[in-house]
């Protein structure tokens, strides 16, 4: 799966949780889930579950803790997809 496609799918997944739309308009690898998109931290577990369903992967707790930005999420997804 191309990086671009992963990012497009990620953007669709996070959209319902985003509270700062400017952040979504400038959606790129440096985008921080909590600071730029203002996603409620409690909702991060829901984002992870949606990512698991979308890409048919499982994201363990350690990986989740390192998932602060869109780029982090992309790397984790790529790693799990290649396993």
């Amino acid at each position: 799966m191309s990086e671009k496609e992963i990012l497009t799918r990620l953007k669709t997944i996070v959209k319902p949780y985003v509270q700062r739309m400017e952040g979504l308009n400038d959606f790129q690898e440096n985008t921080d889930f909590l600071n730029d998109l203002e996603i409620n931290s409690a909702n991060l577990v829901d984002v992870v579950l949606d990512v698991e369903d979308e890409f048919n992967i499982e994201i363990d707790n350690d990986s989740m803790e390192g998932m602060l930005t869109v780029g982090d999420a992309k790397s984790i997804i790529q790693r799990k997809l290649s396993n």
């Binding site: 319902p16 949780y17 409690a42 909702n43 577990v45 829901d46 579950l49 707790n61």
Partner: protein, 424 residues
Amino acid sequence: MKKRVVVTGMGVAAPNAVGLDNFNSAIQEMKSGIRFFPELRDLKFSCQIGGKPEISEELLQQYFTPLQLRGLKSSGIVYGVISGTDAWKDAGLEITENGSPDWDSGIIFGTGILGVDKFREAIQLIDAGKTRRLGSTSVVQTMASGISAYLGGILGCGNQVTTNSSACTTGTEALLMGFERIQNGKAKRMLVGSCSDHGPYVWGGFDAMRILPSKYNEEPTKASRPLSNQASGFVPGSGAGALILEDLDSAIARGARIYCEVLGGEVNSGGQRGEGSMTAANNEAVTRCITAALKNSNVETSEIDAINGHLTATSRDSVEIENWTRALNRKAEDFPYINSLKGMTGHCLSASGSIECVASVLQIYNEYIFGNLNCEEIHPEIKELIHQDRIPTEKITKKINILAKASFGFGDINAVIILKKYPA
């Protein structure tokens, strides 16, 4: 000097109508909200009927954000948020997204059990070893105070925000708790009410106790028969009712419409002694509760024009009437008008008190007494106590100055409130 307390807003999600105007029409037309549910038949329930408010997807979207709707499986929260938000708006209060919390407004919104379908989903995931798949909403949809927490966030209330739970007295008790908080000057406004989840996992335990009617599955609208000779058990219901209680001075200052005044009330328990038990009321406790409610409200027994009873459509109805006649020392033609909403809605359990309080206030404000549905033939024991024209079977136009509303619940607990027309 204690504050006077008035009702300035209401909302309701009842089996026979959703929304205050619809409900005001439905109870005057004596519309039944009791339906047959194939799901209950498939699950081999004896009683396959019940009452559920009908909520469309479009309506849901008016009250919840798309994010809140994701995985929302708590019917009590749905009904409670709809009725609570409606009451707030009906009182002419605004919802501001930003700025400070409203420090003068609080919430006491009760429930019996919350988010049962959500809890079932969680149990199934946990038992399958998939606890991590619960997501973030399992806790907030199943904690009892989930309903006050949802409403508190939507409305931005900064005073006390809590949930009470006392079986079928829950809603009436919530009203009294909110009343006391305003009366003592601790809040200017309290959103009070209660909700009840629907469905087999809430109603099953009652079906197992064989206290629900099993012979009306083909004729659901005839099943709930309070006060009648053919009463054969209560029909399970669900929903929510909500009222905005407000300091009279605050209501006048902001030019709010006033539906009625809350004079006072009482809650007590029979201690499950004497004829009282987990499921039956101690009669002395009931009469004491009524007497104390009148005393706290400075009202004489002769001043009561109407009673909205608990009256669930079981064999206990005649005992309730007997308790009223003793507490008021009024019987036969001298007894006040009395009605039960449950003929139309079934017994909405923890939501019953608040839905019936809304119906009571509507009667005072609009000057009518709704008719008792399915009560063509009054129970002979009741006819011996009070004259049958005290139990209207059609809506009658009537100015009510003072109304008493009672709710009784499992655990041998009682709640009575006294409402008065405003201005008298």
